[in-house]
């Protein structure tokens, strides 16, 4: 198929960006979206132009590096996948595809389609861990039984890949699905209880300091999340925060 691409180009964080049109031809429907981008970049390199910078790494939907806003949707027009898992069979010959970076105050553009997501790092550093040193004599892994239900639910929350689609898609650029997922994982496990109150307070405080917006329960984040993280995690985070503040 032949396509027109409208892509955000921006030299660096200090320069103003703009949309630029490109044409790509003979794209196979079996290609992944990023392979289509590879074709464009090879074309640009060969014609002496600078290729489009975009984040990507594992190309199997787990590293959380890829982050494109395609035709107004985070990770494009398919559900429960990342951009690297999107295939060209979702498009048709003659389509015009608009490709933008994540847009959020807390995620400044570094170059073209690459954004700075280190705000997520700082939120995790504020409390996204259990304080346990490495040693050869931690208690046996089976010493505390954990119900299968709680373990599975913790796993569902822990499946978050930290891509930032929730922030990009939220009209308030809220990071509450991301933070809720991490808080939930630990809140559901006995190991997470000891530091629960400090964890949720510190992570939420850091989240606010980074300039992410608030949650107004529209649920767009849940729809666009490639890993199906549930809105329940936000409710749990709020509950945990309430509990912590009442202590």
């Amino acid at each position: 198929m032949n396509l027109t691409l409208k892509i955000w180009r921006q030299k660096d964080s200090n320069t103003k960006g703009q949309m630029v049109d490109y044409k790509v031809n003979d794209i196979s429907e079996h290609m992944s979206f990023l392979e289509m981008m590879d074709v464009l970049n090879e074309q640009l390199v060969n014609s002496g132009e600078e290729p489009v910078a975009f984040d990507h790494d594992c190309r199997e939907g787990i590293c959380g590096m890829c982050s494109l806003y395609i035709n107004g949707e985070a990770h494009g027009p398919d559900r429960a996948i990342t951009t690297c898992q999107l295939h060209m069979r979702m498009f048709k010959d003659g389509d015009t595809i608009t490709i933008e970076p994540w847009r959020a105050k807390a995620f400044p553009v570094i170059k073209d389609l690459v954004v700075d997501r280190t705000a997520f790092e700082r939120i995790q550093q504020a409390g996204g861990y259990i304080s346990v040193n490495t040693s050869g004599n931690t208690q046996d892994a089976n010493a505390i039984p954990i119900s299968k239900h709680a373990a599975d639910e913790a796993m569902d929350a822990a499946a978050c890949i930290g891509c930032g689609a929730c922030v990009a898609t939220c009209k308030n650029s809220s990071a509450m699905l991301f933070v809720g997922a991490k808080v939930s994982q630990y809140a559901l496990l006995p190991q997470g209880q000891i530091e629960a109150a400090d964890r949720v307070r510190n992570m939420v405080e850091q989240m606010d300091a980074e300039g992410f917006g608030n949650c107004t329960n529209t649920g767009a984040c849940e729809v666009e999340c490639p890993k199906g993280i549930s809105l329940d995690t936000i409710a749990r985070m709020n509950r945990e925060l309430m509990k912590a503040n009442l202590k």
Binding site: D12, S28, H30, M31, S32, L34, E35, E42, L44, V45, E49, E50, P51, D55, H56, D57, C58, R59, E60, G61, I62, C63, G64, M65, D78, A80, Q85, H87, K111, V114, R117, T118, E121, Q124, Q125, A126, G128, Y129, I130, V132, T134, G136, T138, Q139, D140, A141, N142, P145, I146, S147, K148, A151, D152, M155, A158, A159, G162, Q185, L189, Q191
Partner: protein, 671 residues
């Protein structure tokens, strides 16, 4: 007399590590804060090492090329992590895990290292659970296990199909705690471009800030390389796009020996390639072989009918199918080790039985498992005379619970529903057992330079068993390196900070800048990918699943020729003082173009078949093992450690003879 000293402690294999730990030198806590350690790479090995060293009190500087340490490619490991816990009471033990790993590695690993790995494996699970890693549990609330290839016990712990992700997030959370305390300085989007030696010791690195392009000097008392494997030398592999060998290759060129580069794992269950535009291959976890049966049609007529779309695989009756692994290896069946399963798939496809248009695909079928689970569930739920549909429905629910995310991933890529029609799979490059040579302390032949995880060569011999990579990465980082590095650093308590304004740093920085300037100024005509793809094709065709002397000699000559063309004609757009992914790739591919040649040289030297290295000249000629790999213990029971001498072709071979005191060398039979 070899120049290699493995430094394996004396004593019985069961006591070596314990006795050794009791006797090594320690650094007192007050002195640790005067010692700096650089860790390059933040996957399971690097992440766990950085966190643990910082907990101990060292000042750690950690580097990764991704925008977060959590994105290192360990995250993509799906199936699980082995540990000799014997929670299932099925006869597992430290010795058995040790034995399985040595045997699985086709008797080409160092016994003492493998025993230590098995010994600390149980601690890893305890540590990860304490960190909040949500491993799968059974209804009683205890940890669940599954089975992996090449073993007869269930010792694999897992977190759905995302075990690597959860373990890495555990190590990442431990890192975050230390970053918050200021004990780890984290350098995201940074790439190490060379190592700096002072008085023969590794004392720092030159790194490039991938956002600004700035070249930086970083000093330390020791440098730990944890940068993963070199599978991307094949261009197409299951590695991440950015996975590269640059850090490992740079230390090799500065004096670290590179061991067994030809030992590469070709994983049997990957999604077949679909076209020339393909940028990478996707793995389907080996855990699928617990329940999936692998087959191709028995009759060529059916193969042709399927390829032409006239027949569907589900229309073939049981006796029209060739379950070739069950036929050839009745004892292990579909759970033979990876190298054996891959070669068997290639054998069937080479014979013309491949089931897709390219002729390079076999079926992985879950119909039998769905029926079996369905009947079991019907019994559990007390459903009398369940209909076929009901059984399928119940069975699919169980398969979904076990492998749902993998099935979804397959469907998104291939656009077929694997619950209703068998998956198509084919082998792909996945893991490299070879790597930087290290002694028992995990130190390379450069004093003060360590190498851990997939980047080193030590534990998996010529073939790695499933779910052992995660185990090794975390064993090295959490439980081995933090001890052994102290023994070395105890001499550095009075050294003080290593200055970076010295001639040694000047010289290496100049080398790095010269190379970058060359790329920016060389107005060639061909893109970096053009050369990478060419290299990959040679590697796959001539140094892939089976190799012969003729092909390997050709590969060496052809790679050299491509390398020369690369340095004349490569084209890198943009500038050096900005984010420039093409420049990053150029440096990595330049290193692969050297590594590939050494790889072929190593494969040519090793005139035997062992594990992932199959030499066509060395196969069993008759008897029940006909066609299977033939090892030559008399002449090749050694580690091949290569010393760099200018060109890859001139590398000098050093042998570390392997001694097997606790395990008898046998033909590896899975029949």
């Amino acid at each position: 007399m070899s120049v290699l000293n493995s430094k394996v402690p004396k004593g019985s294999i069961k006591d070596k590590w314990t006795t050794y730990k009791d006797k090594i030198d320690l650094v007192n806590p007050a002195n640790k804060r005067h010692i700096d350690v650089i860790v390059v790479g933040t996957g399971l090995a690097g992440g766990s090492a950085a966190a643990t060293l910082a907990e101990l009190g060292y000042n750690v500087k950690a580097f990764c090329y991704q925008d977060s340490p959590r994105r290192a490619h360990s995250i993509a490991a799906q199936g699980g992590i082995n540990a000799a816990k014997n929670y299932q009471g099925d006869g597992d033990s430290t010795y058995r895990l040790f034995y399985d790993t040595v045997k699985g590695g086709d008797y080409r690993s160092r016994e003492a290292n493998v025993y230590r790995l098995a010994e600390v494996s149980a601690n890893i699970i305890d540590q990860c659970v304490a960190q909040g890693v949500p491993f799968a549990r059974d209804y009683g609330g205890l940890l669940d296990n599954r089975s992996f290839g090449g073993v007869l016990v269930s010792r694999t712990f897992y977190a759905k199909g995302q075990t690597g992700q959860q373990l890495l997030l555990g190590a990442y959370s431990a890192m975050n705690r230390q970053i918050a305390r200021g004990k780890i300085q984290m350098y995201n989007r940074h790439e190490m471009l060379d190592v700096v030696k002072v008085d023969g010791k590794a004392r720092g690195i030159i790194a490039r800030d991938l956002i600004t392009g700035k070249i930086e000097r970083h000093s330390a008392h020791a440098v730990v390389i944890a940068s993963g494997g070199y599978g991307n030398v094949y261009f197409l592999s299951t590695n991440a796009m950015g996975s590269n060998a640059t850090a490992a290759w740079k230390i090799h060129k500065k004096g670290a020996f590179f061991a067994n580069p030809c030992y590469t794992q070709i994983h049997p269950t990957c999604i077949p390639r679909s076209g020339d535009y393909q940028s990478k291959l996707t793995l389907m976890s080996e855990s699928l072989r617990n329940d999936g049966r692998i087959w191709v049609p028995k009759n060529m007529d059916d193969v042709i009918a399927i390829r032409e779309g006239r027949k569907k695989p589900t229309e073939l009756s049981e006796d029209e199918r060739d379950y070739y692994l069950e036929r050839r290896y009745p004892a292990f069946g579909n759970l033979v080790p990876r190298d054996v399963a891959s070669r068997a798939a290639k054998e069937r496809c080479d014979a013309g039985y491949g089931v897709n248009a390219t002729g390079e695909a076999v079926y992985l079928d879950f119909a039998a498992a769905i029926e079996r689970y369905g009947k079991e569930q019907a019994k559990i739920h007390n459903i009398q005379n369940p209909s076929k549909e009901k059984i399928t429905e119940l069975g699919e629910a169980i398969v979904e619970a076990k492998y749902g995310n993998l099935f979804q991933m397959y469907e998104k890529i291939v656009d077929q529903n694997p619950y209703k029609t068998p998956m198509m799979i084919y082998p792909a490059v996945h893991y490299t057992m070879g790597g930087v040579w290290v002694d028992y302390n995990l130190m390379t032949t450069i004093p003060g330079c360590y190498c851990i995880g997939e980047a080193n060569f030590s534990d998996h011999g010529a073939n790695r068993l499933g779910a052992s990579a995660l185990m090794q990465g975390l064993a090295d980082g959490y439980f081995v390196l933090p001890y052994t590095i102290g023994d070395y650093l105890s001499d550095d308590i009075r050294t003080g900070p290593i200055p970076t304004d010295t001639k040694e740093f000047d010289d290496v920085e100049k080398e790095v800048n010269d190379r970058i300037n060359f790329f920016m100024n060389n107005k060639g005509t061909k893109s970096v990918d053009y050369f990478h793809k060419k290299l990959g094709k040679i590697m796959w065709d001539k140094a892939g699943m089976s190799r012969n002397a003729q092909g390997l000699k050709e590969a060496m000559a052809e790679i050299k020729a491509i390398r020369e063309e690369f340095w004349k004609d490569v084209k890198v757009p943009g500038s050096a003082n900005e984010m420039n992914p093409e420049l990053e790739k150029a440096g990595r591919v330049a290193d692969f173009l050297e590594l590939g040649e050494l790889f072929a040289k190593d494969a040519l030297m090793r005139e035997e078949s062992c594990g992932g290295h199959f030499r066509e000249e060395s196969a069993e000629e008759d008897g029940p093992q006909k066609g299977e790999a033939k090892r030559d213990d008399k002449n090749f029971a050694f580690v091949a450690a290569w010393e760099h001498k200018g060109e890859p072709a001139n590398a000098v071979l050093h042998k570390e003879e392997l001694e097997f005191k606790d395990i008898e060398l046998k033909q590896r039979s899975y029949k």
